[in-house]
Symmetry: C2
Subunit: 348 residues, 2 copies
DNA sequence: ATGAAAGCGCTAACAG
DNA sequence: CTGTTAGCGCTTTCAT
């Protein structure tokens, strides 16, 4: 006996779980037949199929996906590269990616990028040289990883904005931040504000980020002065610090923030400066986190469908892996301005 | 030529990236020597090592971790099983796990559990039958997955509370929620409140959750009435809905909430009911999310070191995988009450 | 419809 | 210090 050919004469059970060979032996069929039953692609007689299934259950057989992949089976794993998953956008995108991948039978790996990730490093994180990858590239570490991945790695990405010029990489997805920022800015102008100040999130590029551009677009189109954008980070604290000095100036009546956390910090700074929201100051954010509707005051913000974007990013990857299948891309929602209590007319 | 033995006579480059064999051939050494250089465990002469390293760089060789694992190499991958990563606790725990795992050279897979996950299902998500697993089991789907994993899978878990009786599973880690809840409750009592109401997060068990017990502990120890706990969900909205009717009763002057999101909803409901915080009502949460310090009013809450717990959970896994190594467990912080603006004395 | 053979890329024994 | 051999568990080919 000992089909695997190396069963020691006096064996202790090696705690090795049942393989396809074990199933084959017990079921009295070839190993190949078991494979066929498992994959269900090829036709197998009903009787043998039943027998094999029964033995699989008896032995508690569980397939080894590594071996399957190594042997040249279909691709069924992705690795997601992302920086800081504490950020709302990245976390939500990751959820969308994982959900779509799992639905398609993919296993998903995750690897977090730090600020100091060397170029070879990132490729070495993959489970195999050509494992497909999705990159969440809203910030600098993500963008760098995207650039530094070897060309033979199939990759799609959720990015902050399309590549300059060319109209966008076909393997990237993004939300129309520029239009959204313009929309939010127009909302504030239409309430009667003379201009709108902007607290920016960190940017991935030297070029002007899309939200900043959209904000400028709207101000310029209305012929309003364009203040210098304030540099914020990602946290409430950074928003708080960024605007403290600004708030002494009572002519500042409207502030657009790069995300909801910044907005939260800005609102706190405003209160401490004795400014009423929205009476003296309007504040608008980006993201529409679950908390935003319950803040005091509730936050006017731009809802961004990061989960949808993540799902689409995986759809794109699937299309890249199976070009012949002509897969349709799952749709995602465009950004939407949610008007709440934190924005209103300027003081009279 | 053709060490791999199947190079077609008239080959088009199969887009197959360089393997260890290719490196060996070019470097003029055996495949095994390349393996030795890569792993660095065995001694290799400096000259051959240099040669091999050079060829590795030339050919852009990247190791295949799947093959390594399949061939019986050291374990270097984990899968994390978790439900809803949108929750602060689960997300932070995941970050800690990923960080520790990556630092140890592990690749980490993630698979999200839904409410309806059948028992065989969960084992089939693993990349191989005996892949190590970490479960984030703060809620029911997590606890179920933990129960349903086959016994031969090495698993550690971050759980809401230790197993009943036995003093806790040695492969589980948890925070002392019970003591923390008692502490938070005593804080409110010491401010002069007659009693404290509690809005609970969903529980994973039929038994009383630890936070609920701690709250009761403190009330009983002080000889105060123990109100019926209110059942909340995880979101601000559920906190908002849970307490709306309660707030009509002005004798309710202190509410402890199962997490900060619930507290946010409770605070909003309170304002809408015309209650001032902390003047008429004190609110205390659990988690200390980054937003909590910037809310209006800023939230008194219990800081929980989920990231530390996640790192410890991986440490535990490592210990389980290498019992002989006698690894020390990374420490994590005990829960800590952060007193802010939302708690104060009851109205006179 | 089923079986047999070869091999994916690597590591773990053994040899020398 | 280095090379040889035998697999890991599975999916391709090809046969039958």
């Amino acid at each position: 006996m000992g089909v695997t050919g190396h069963t020691p004469p006096n064996d202790t059970p090696p705690a090795r779980s049942a393989s396809i060979w074990d199933v084959a032996r017990v079921a009295g069929v070839s190993q190949q037949t078991v494979s066929r039953v498992i994959n269900g692609k090829t036709r197998v007689s009903e009787s043998t199929r039943a027998k094999v299934m029964q033995v699989i259950a008896e032995l508690g057989y569980r397939p080894n996906r590594l071996a399957r992949t190594l042997a040249g089976g279909p691709v069924s794993s992705v690795t997601v590269l992302t920086s800081d998953t504490a950020l709302f956008g990245a976390a939500a995108t990751l959820r969308g990616m994982e959900e779509a991948a799992r639905a398609a039978g993919f296993s998903v790996g995750i690897s977090v990028l730090g600020p100091g990730t060397s170029n070879t490093d990132v490729a070495l994180r993959l489970n195999r040289p050509q494992e497909p990858v999705m990159v969440i590239a809203y910030d600098d570490p993500g963008e760098r990883a995207l650039r530094e991945l070897p060309p033979d790695v199939p990759v799609t990405a959720a990015v902050e904005r399309p590549d300059d010029g060319s109209g966008g990489d076909p393997w990237q997805v993004w939300l129309d931040d520029r239009a959204a920022a313009a929309h939010a800015t127009r909302h504030l102008l239409s309430l009667g504000h003379q201009t709108v100040h902007y607290v920016a999130i960190p940017s991935s590029t030297s070029a002007l980020p899309q939200r900043t551009r959209g904000w400028q677009d709207a101000l310029r189109a209305a012929g309003r002065p364009v203040p210098e954008p304030l540099r914020g980070g990602w946290t409430p604290r950074s928003g708080y610090l960024a605007v403290r000095s600004l708030l002494a100036d009572r002519s500042v009546t409207a502030i657009l923030c790069g995300n909801d956390d910044l907005a939260l910090g800005v609102m706190r700074a405003a209160r401490e400066a004795g400014r009423d929201i929205p009476g003296d100051l309007s504040v608008v954010g980006f993201d529409d986190t679950p908390a935003s509707a319950y803040l005091h005051p509730s936050l006017t913000t731009v809802r961004l469908d990061f989960e949808g974007l993540g799902r689409a990013c995986f759809g794109l990857l699937l299309r890249r892996l199976q070009p012949e299948a002509a897969l349709s891309l799952p749709a995602w929602n465009e950004p939407e301005l949610i008007v709440r209590e934190s924005s209103g007319p300027p003081p009279a």
